[in-house]
Amino acid sequence: MITIAIVLSIVLLLVILFLLFRIGTLASIFRGSSERAAGTTKTSNRVNGTLLLLFLFGGGAAFAWSFIASWDEMNQPLASVHGDWTDSLFWTTMIIIGIVFVITQILLFLYSYKYQHKDDKRAYYYPHNNKIEIVWTMIPAIVMALLVFGGWQTWTKITSAAPQEAIVVEVMGKQFNWMVRYPGPDGELGVAKTTLITATNEFGVDFSDRNAMDDFMPMQIHVPKGKPVLFKIRSRDVIHSVFLPHFRVKMDAVPGMPTKFWFVPTKTTQDMRNETGNPDFNYELACTEVCGRGHFAMRFILVVDEEEEYEEWLAAQTPFVEQNPDVLAKFSTEAPEQIVLGESTEKKAEEVKTEL
């Protein structure tokens, strides 16, 4: 019954609108305004011109108001060194394009209003002016050059090689969650292959590799404040993307092509809880490359600790093989020769470390 009523009222509304449209058309024929060239009738020009001007002021005011009102909400709290560079570059660029935006929009609507059709007027024949055109080609070129330079410098710094002492964390994306692996005390991640993946060994770690023996896979990422952190990123099925909004970090996780990103956290989770006044605040890791059904739910927690807390946490972690001794069984046959190999590479790694 209600549906019929709704349908009926919509039909009636449409009929009324149609009648209004017909009356409007007939009235304009009666007034003779339909005899004039389109766009030269006084009222419609005045109405449209005024509306354009109103749109400029009204729209501009609404934009400014909503921008200010959303300011706090749109600025994610910042917690990394390079994030500071990109944020300031972002807002500098925003100011520059903001100026251009305001000037060009004002000119557009103002000219449209001011030069609306008048019967006694004639447009000014002004086909070109080379001098002006060169000037307004050069100005954007110079501004762009400056912006490129700023961007290029920042980009080069961010993407430079990670410092040697960086804490290494492997982040692996899969449908539909993140998994992380720490190299353990030896500082080396064990070799991993997709063919070795099982229900327990989700990374496909080759446990005949000595470096893998102390690797551990925690349920949260922990990193110390003020130290460089290097994410070694990979995916085992489709493309995912690591996104840490508070650290201004984003890098795709690509199957078959390891990627990396390093950054320096500047605030502990506790610092951020105090700063934001939210006792439940957590740093979050999200996926930003569409990866299927659960794309929107790939949440992982990252905790930034004070240095001592981090060391404590690290000490409390047990290697994966100790938690799951069964996984070793599969690798036991080929173990002996692998161990020899593993030792020699480990020695080399140590030598390199002492030298540096």
Binding site: F21, T25, A37, A38, G39, T40, N45, N48, L51, F55, S66, S70, E73, M74, Q76, W85, T86, L89, T93, I97, F101, T104, L108, Y111, S112, Y115, R122, A123, Y124, Y125, P127, I132, E133, T137, P140, M144, L147, V148, W152, T154, I158, T194, T195, I197, D237, V238, I239, S241, P245, H246, P255, G256, M257, T288, V290, C291, R293, H295, F296, R299
Partner: protein, 608 residues
Amino acid sequence: MSSTDIHIDHDIHHAHDEHDHHLDQNFFEKYIFSQDHKTIAKQYLFSGIFWAFIGGFLSILFRLQLGWPEATFTFLEPILGGWIENGKLNPEFYLALVTMHGTIMVFFVLTAGLSGTFSNFLIPLQVGARDMASGFMNMLSYWIFFLASVILFTSLFLETGPASGGWTVYPPLSALPQAMEGSKGGMTLWLISMALFIVSQLLGGVNYITTVINLRTKGMSMTKLPLTIWAFFLTAILGLLAFPVLFSAALLLIFDRSFGTSFFLSDIFIAGEALSNTGGSPILFQHLFWFLGHPEVYIVIMPAFGIVSEVIATNARKPIFGYRAMIGSLIGISLLSFVVWAHHMFVTGMNPFLGSVFMFLTLIIAVPSAVKVFNWLATLWRGNIRFTAAMMFAVGFVSLFISGGLTGIILGNSALDIQLHDTYFVVAHFHLVMGAAAFFGMFAGVYHWFPKMFGRLMDEKLGYVHFWLTFVSVYLVFMPMHYIGIAGFPRRYYAWTGFEAFSGFADMNTFISISAILGFTAQFIFLFNFVYSIIRGRKSTANPWHSNTLEWTTPVLPGHGNWPGEIPAVYRWPYDYSKPGSVEDYIPQNIPFSQTQSSNLPQERDFE
């Protein structure tokens, strides 16, 4: 037939004249399998409008989900059936919606609907030709497009759903049927449809280019072409060079999906088993895709540039400011559009040095774009502006192009792209600059050339209502999206409620959804106006806007062959509006200088 005229072009045209007298076309030849460029243009236009409503409707569906994430959508069950599970939209279907919205809008509406309609309609009329270089190929182009449309439309009704991996269809997600439902039959149909679509685009593009180069009327040099033709010409060249690359990418993806090759696949463990594929690179697909994908956004926007330049000059009653600079910037944009593709891939793990190079090239492209905006503004300055509905949309276009284009300077900067990549900032940027702006260009074109297409005028007042509702709602939808993007909200998210960082802006999302529904509803005003005016609109005169270009020298409804007599020769550029000394404020291109002695400029005296 006159035998004194030995010009080759004219001989061909005479041959056509004779052909015109055979009026024995049956219904199918005239309206369905027509080789007349005007009919084909209308076919493209109707198809484009159909697809635009489908694409728009899909966006309303996912805006409902984003605006009211907690709501139950049982009322959609009659339309969506099994895609509503316990009153909730299926998350994979959500991805299918965004994917199909993107595919439909970018390819089927703003490429086929825009270029297909206006290149077909205007190129022969504005360069002074009887028809396209090859009417048959032109017809083939439309019907292959139609077939592609049918296939894509069919994929909407598959049980496993249409393609769902985003309109960019990145493998491995799109390559592996076990990765998601949409990568099963839906993706296969997507690829077949797209392969056919590319064939159609190439057939069309070859025709546009050939017609512009070979079939210009007497006196129509390249520097006397209207800017519309320059834009369509360069667009066709971009399409001809870029689409084959997408074809190769699609073909390799078909191989990976169906024949076990590993072009894009390596080291994958999915659905409980490790795949044997090795050595492929998913990044390779992205390079191939964006090598088309970036020129594609210019394929979408450049016809709009041309249409807007023409509409603004005509209605401001002023010559377009800097005609040669406008051509130069179009050429500059066309060239640069081929060397900026990897700015879509700054954070894919591509070598950072490559990122620097592409950032540099990307920001250069802002210069010709800026020149275009300044020239449009200068054209409005001291004009005598007639606010026709087309002119309103042209002004709206410039405003949207500025708003959306400026944020491109931010996204083209690789350092800033780290945070903003794949967030709503990107969504806001490209919807303004190539989505809404290209739509506004299309609307301007429809309102402006409707009288030449159908011999009747669209209702101006309804046009104004349509314009204002659309213009306001476009800004209400996409301006707030920037804030959400700055806050880092990722795109293609079914819901953000799982994340604390993205828990804000719930009201803003509801607001955006309401504005989107308003904007979509306003399009029905256009639809009514369009259909009603075809049947009962006011009868038009031959040149209702007092415009200079050649199409307005044809009869009200040009027949097959366009001009009943000889094709007019061209003597001047198309922008002699409000020339001092002339009685009327416009001098059509076919008026010789000898007839306008009072208004000729000193350098034009020689042509008298």
